[in-house]
C-alpha cells in the first residue's frame, strides 16, 4: 500500500526571459516548495494508493481528481462532487477546505499506464494555476532488474524500455496567474498564453537537469537522453487546456499506449508516428529508438551527414553539434561558434509543432521545446523515475 502526501501551496515560477509568475502547486512535504508539475507519482497496479491532501490556500477549497481511476473513495464511501449551499457545483470530488483543510483519497489502480492527476475544484482556474501532475502505474509484474519485465504495460506487451521520461505539457497566461495572486478578477475570455511548458519549464530551462537550485519550483527537466538502439519510453501527458502536437524532430516514435491503455485490443493498434497530438487531459506512451543517420552498432559511421543548417550553427552563435560525424568524437566547428556539446553526443529537438509555442512571449527559442541527446555511453541511472 502506498501513501502519498501532497500539500497545496503557492509560489513564483521562473521563466527564461526573467519573468516571475504567481502559481499554485503541489508539494511533497510540509516544508517543501510548491512545484509544477506536482510530484511525479509512481505506484503499482493492484496496490492500494492513499493520497492525503493538505490545503494551505487561505480562500480556495482544493480537490484532486484522478482521471482513469475509479472508484476513488473518501472516508470509506465513493468520492462525490461538492456543491455550495445554493446548489452550484464547486468541485468534481470531495475537497479540502481552505486554510489547512485536509482530505484523503483512496483507490486501487486496476491497470498500468500513464495518467494525470489534477485539481477538480474551480478547474478553470486551479488547473491553469498549476495544480496538476502525472501518475505512473507500473504493471503488477514490473521488475526493473529483468529486461522482459521492465515494461510499461506488462510482460509480453511489447512495451519493454531501457530508460523512461515523463513530459507534461502546459501553458501559462502570466496576466491571469498574476491576477489571481493579486486578488483581481479572473477574466477567462482574455486567456492568452505567453509561455508553453514541458514539466513546468520553458526552453532552454527544459534542458537543464532535474532539481537545479535556481528553479526551486520547477524541479523536473525534460532532456531525453539515451544510447543508440536503446528503447526509450516517453510518457507524454497533456495537463494544460490546449492541444499540442509534439515530436522528436526528424525521427519517428512507436505509439504503444493512450490514456493509460495499451493500444492492443482485438488488434495491435501500436504504430509509428512522426507527431502525436497531446490532447488536453490525454496521455500517450511512445517508445523511441535512435538508429538515425544509418547508424548501427556494427556501423558507427553515419552514412548521411546532416546539413549544417539543421545543426543550430548560425545566427544564434552556438551549437549543440559536436563538429564530428562520428558519435563520441568531437571535431572542428566554425570560428566564433560556441559548442555546448560535451563529448560527441548527438542532439536533436523535441518540440511542439505549433511553432509559435516554441517561444517565450514571442521570442524564439523557448517554450515547449527540449532536446533528445544520444550519447555514445550513458549511465544507467539516467532516465529513471522514482
Amino acid at each position: 500500500m502506498a501513501t502519498i502526501d501532497l500539500w497545496v501551496k503557492d509560489g513564483y515560477l521562473s521563466t527564461p526571459d526573467g519573468n516571475s509568475i504567481y502559481f499554485w502547486g503541489f508539494s511533497a512535504s510540509p516544508d517543501g516548495r510548491a512545484q509544477v508539475p506536482g510530484p511525479h507519482l509512481v505506484v503499482r497496479q493492484g496496490e492500494q494508493v492513499t493520497v492525503n491532501l493538505m490545503n494551505t490556500l487561505p480562500l480556495e477549497p482544493v480537490s484532486i481528481v484522478f482521471p482513469g481511476q475509479w472508484p476513488v473513495s473518501v472516508d470509506g464511501r465513493l468520492a462525490r462532487p461538492q456543491y455550495d449551499q445554493a446548489g452550484n457545483l464547486v468541485s468534481f470530488a470531495d475537497h479540502a477546505p481552505p486554510d489547512r483543510g485536509v482530505i484523503s483519497y483512496t483507490f486501487t489502480p486496476e491497470r498500468p499506464g500513464t495518467f494525470l492527476y489534477e485539481s477538480g475544484t474551480h478547474p478553470h482556474k486551479q488547473v491553469p494555476m498549476g495544480l496538476y501532475g502525472a501518475l505512473v502505474v507500473r504493471p503488477a509484474d514490473y521488475d526493473p532488474g529483468d529486461p522482459a519485465h521492465k515494461t510499461a504495460y506488462g510482460f509480453g506487451t511489447d512495451t519493454e524500455f531501457d530508460r523512461e521520461y515523463l513530459l507534461i505539457t502546459g501553458e501559462i497566461d502570466p496576466e491571469l496567474n498574476n491576477a489571481v495572486g493579486e486578488g483581481r478578477p479572473y477574466p477567462v475570455p482574455r486567456f492568452r498564453p505567453r509561455y508553453w511548458t514541458l514539466n513546468g519549464r520553458c526552453a532552454p530551462d527544459t534542458m537543464l537537469p532535474d532539481r537545479v537550485p535556481h528553479l526551486p519550483h520547477q524541479p523536473y527537466g525534460s532532456m531525453v537522453m539515451g544510447q543508440p538502439g536503446e528503447k526509450i519510453l516517453i510518457r507524454l501527458a497533456g495537463a494544460g487546456v490546449d492541444n499540442h502536437p509534439v515530436h522528436p524532430h526528424g525521427n519517428h516514435v512507436r505509439v504503444v499506449g493512450a490514456d493509460g491503455r495499451l493500444l492492443r485490443g482485438g488488434t495491435d493498434l501500436s504504430g509509428r508516428r512522426f507527431t502525436v497530438l497531446v490532447g488536453a487531459g490525454q496521455t500517450w506512451d511512445l517508445v523511441f529508438s535512435w538508429t538515425g543517420l544509418g547508424f548501427t552498432p556494427e556501423n558507427p559511421i553515419p552514412t548521411v551527414l546532416p546539413n549544417r543548417r539543421n545543426l543550430g550553427v548560425g545566427d544564434a552563435g552556438w551549437t549543440m553539434w559536436s563538429g564530428s560525424p562520428y558519435l563520441g568524437q568531437k571535431g572542428d566547428i566554425p570560428v566564433g561558434v560556441v559548442s555546448f556539446n560535451e563529448f560527441g553526443e548527438y542532439y536533436f529537438m523535441l518540440h511542439a509543432h505549433e511553432e509559435h509555442k516554441i517561444t517565450n512571449w514571442g521570442e524564439f527559442p523557448g517554450g515547449m521545446m527540449s532536446m533528445v541527446a544520444i550519447y555514445p555511453s550513458l549511465s544507467p541511472a539516467v532516465g529513471t523515475l522514482p
Binding site: 472508484p71 465513493l78 486567456f191 488536453a280
Partner: protein, 333 residues
C-alpha cells in the same frame, strides 16, 4: 422495405436562453408556427431509406441551404425544376454558396434528397455563408439506424452500426458540441456586419445548452428553443453510447468524467467488423470541427461524474464556473 422519410424545415429566428444571456439565433423549425430549435430537429431514418428534406425560409433576408456531410449523391429541386445533383453556386466567378440555395422572396421551397446508405450519426448544416449561418445555429443531426434496429430478433437490434461492430447499447445520448459568440449573434441578427476575425465565443454548448441547463430534462418548458438535455442516468454495467458530434468551428476535447470509454466509431464509420477490431479506450477524446466520435462507457461502479470539456476554460459561462460544456453522468447500483 426502404421508406421515404420526409422532413420539413423552416428557417426561423429565435432566442437562445444561456445562463445570464438571451441570444438571438437562427434555427430550423419543424413547422412555420413551431419554435426553431438548436440543434435542428433530429432526422431519423433506417439505412437504405430515402431522406427528402424540404427547406423553407420566410423570415431571413438571406439565401439559405442545406449540406449533408457524409452523404453521397444528394439531389435537389425547386418547384419549377427537376431533380439534379447538388452543386456549388457561383456569381460572377465568385462562390456564393457551397450548395444550391433558396433565395429570399423567390421560390416557396428547395428540396434535397439522398439515400441514407449506411448507419451512423451525421450533421446537416447550412452551406451558404456557413461562417455566419452555422454559428448562428443552422445545424442539426441525422441518425441512421441499421436495418432491424427495432426488431428484437435481429442481430442489429439496438446497435449503432449493426451486428459484430461492438456498438450494442442500453442508453444512447446525442451530444452536439458548439460555441456561441453573443456579440456576433447580436450583430448578425440585427443585419449588421460582423468581422469573423473578431470571433470570440464566451458560451460553450452541448445540444445548444450550457451547464447547468444541460442537466435539465429534454423538452424543458423553460428552454423552448433548446429541447435536448444531455444528462445521463445509468445503472452499473449498462452500455452508454455517447454520440459526440462537433458542430462548432473550434476543436473540442471532451473528458468522460474520469472514466474510460471505448471509441467505437469515428465520422460515422464503425471501428470494428467481424474481421478486425480497431476500437480503443480513452479517458478523453478530441473532436475536430465537423467530426464525430462515438464512445461506449460501461461503468463498473456507481458514481456521480461530469462529462466536460477538458479545455477547462470552456466549463464556464463567460468567466464563471460552473458552466459551459459540461453535463452530469449519474451511475447508480
Amino acid at each position: 422495405m426502404p421508406a421515404l422519410v420526409r422532413k420539413d424545415l423552416w428557417v426561423r429566428r429565435g432566442l437562445l436562453k444561456l445562463p445570464g444571456a438571451q441570444v438571438p439565433f437562427w434555427g430550423f423549425a419543424p413547422s412555420p408556427s413551431a419554435p426553431p430549435v438548436l440543434p435542428g430537429p433530429v432526422i431519423t431514418a433506417t439505412a437504405g431509406d430515402v431522406i427528402l428534406v424540404t427547406l423553407r425560409n420566410t423570415e431571413l433576408p438571406v439565401p439559405v441551404s442545406l449540406m449533408f456531410p457524409g452523404q453521397t449523391q444528394v439531389l435537389t429541386r425547386r418547384p419549377a425544376t427537376r431533380w439534379k445533383p447538388v452543386s456549388p453556386r457561383y456569381e460572377a466567378g465568385r462562390m456564393v454558396s457551397l450548395t444550391d440555395a433558396l433565395d429570399p422572396g423567390t421560390d416557396d421551397w428547395i428540396r434535397y434528397q439522398f439515400r441514407a446508405g449506411k448507419p451512423g450519426v451525421y450533421l446537416y448544416q447550412s452551406g451558404t455563408n456557413p461562417g455566419v449561418q452555422v454559428q448562428m445555429g443552422l445545424y442539426g443531426l441525422i441518425v441512421v439506424r441499421p436495418l432491424g434496429f427495432e426488431r428484437p430478433s435481429s442481430p442489429n437490434y439496438r446497435t449503432a452500426y449493426g451486428a459484430r461492430t461492438g456498438t450494442g447499447f442500453d442508453i444512447e445520448k446525442l451530444l452536439v458540441l458548439g460555441e456561441v459568440d453573443t456579440a456576433m449573434h447580436a450583430r448578425v441578427a440585427a443585419g449588421a456586419e460582423f468581422n469573423i476575425l473578431d470571433f470570440a465565443p464566451e458560451y460553450w454548448v452541448i445540444n445548444g445548452r450550457s451547464y447547468p441547463d444541460t442537466d435539465r430534462p429534454d423538452y424543458d418548458a423553460t428552454l423552448p428553443h433548446q429541447p435536448l438535455g444531455s444528462a445521463v442516468a445509468a445503472k452499473t454495467g449498462q452500455r452508454i453510447l455517447l454520440r459526440l458530434v462537433n458542430a462548432g468551428f473550434l476543436n473540442h476535447t471532451v473528458t468522460l468524467g474520469g472514466l474510460h470509454g471505448r471509441v467505437v466509431a469515428e465520422d460515422a464509420f464503425p471501428l470494428a467488423s467481424s474481421e478486425l477490431d480497431t476500437t480503443y479506450e480513452k479517458t478523453a477524446v478530441t473532436l475536430g470541427a465537423g467530426q464525430s466520435v462515438e464512445v461506449i462507457v460501461t461503468p463498473g461502479h456507481p458514481g456521480e461524474h461530469y462529462l466536460r470539456a477538458r479545455d477547462y476554460l470552456r466549463i464556464v459561462n463567460v468567466s464563471s464556473f460552473p458552466g459551459g460544456m459540461m453535463t452530469r453522468l449519474l451511475v447508480t447500483a
